[in-house]
Amino acid sequence: MKQIINIQEQYGAELHTRQMMERLAASLVPTNEYLLDMAGVEQISRSAADELYNLTHSEIHVDLINLEPFVEKMLSAVTKGRFLPRQHTAGDMPIIHCATIGSVQRQLMAK
């Protein structure tokens, strides 16, 4: 039987850190099955969502229920990102060698 965990009761309505999700993961027993009830969790940071993704794809059997709209969108964005190859599209930045403090100042003033 799946154990239901009310996330909002235990961690609040805003999930903001990787550590918070790591604490959640550490509290779960791998041989058990869990339903994480996300009702009332209104906000989640990208990094917390990323850790939640890790948890739902770990060896621990975890399902999410009652996702609020924002949390659902963030998890969807994170999931999508997992399947995209890393892009290195920014290209190299010019590296300017400044020999003196004065040259640094000039670079800082330049627009």
């Binding site: 964005a77 300017i96 640094v104």
Partner: protein, 152 residues
């Protein structure tokens, strides 16, 4: 963004302390944020993780160049897109929020605005023993800004 930058300290800087500074500049109507640590620098993070050493070069400026181009120090081969980090934050701040982004790490300073992008290799007398990320964003978010455009 703050969460991710602060997590970077915990995950990569090899220090147990970080510093956060936030200010609302009423006159300029901007929000200014600084996240700093006295850790091993971005160059040191690549070395510690043994990642991208073939591309790293031998200077803090080279390390900043790798970081801004999305080369992650995370070691998750199956989820290579994981390292959200500096490059994604830069994109969100400058392209999305029309702000400015700067990173001081060791002996190098990266500057990114809408009109300018460069890395300064600093003179030897400037050597920050850690990493400082400085962000300035307008207090009024641009109408067309969509957070999810910068999440993947």
């Amino acid at each position: 963004m703050l969460d991710e930058l602060i997590c970077n300290i915990q995950q990569h800087a090899q220090t147990d302390k970080g510093y956060a500074y936030l200010m609302y500049n009423k006159a300029a109507r901007t929000i200014e944020i600084i996240i700093a640590d006295f850790g091993i620098t971005i160059y040191g993070s690549y070395v510690a993780a043994q990642k991208h050493l073939d591309k790293l070069g031998d200077s803090d400026a080279d390390a900043l160049n790798l970081a801004q181009n999305g080369y992650s120090v995370k070691n998750l081969p199956d989820t290579e897109n994981r390292g959200y980090g500096i490059s994604s934050n830069m994109k969100m701040v400058v392209d999305g929020l029309k702000g400015e982004f700067a990173v001081l790490s060791g002996n190098a300073l990266l500057l990114l605005t809408a009109n300018d992008r460069k890395i300064l290799a600093l003179p030897p007398e400037i050597d920050f023993k850690g990493t400082m990320i400085m962000v300035r964003i307008p207090a009024q978010m641009p109408d067309k800004f969509n957070l999810y455009d910068y999440m993947s």
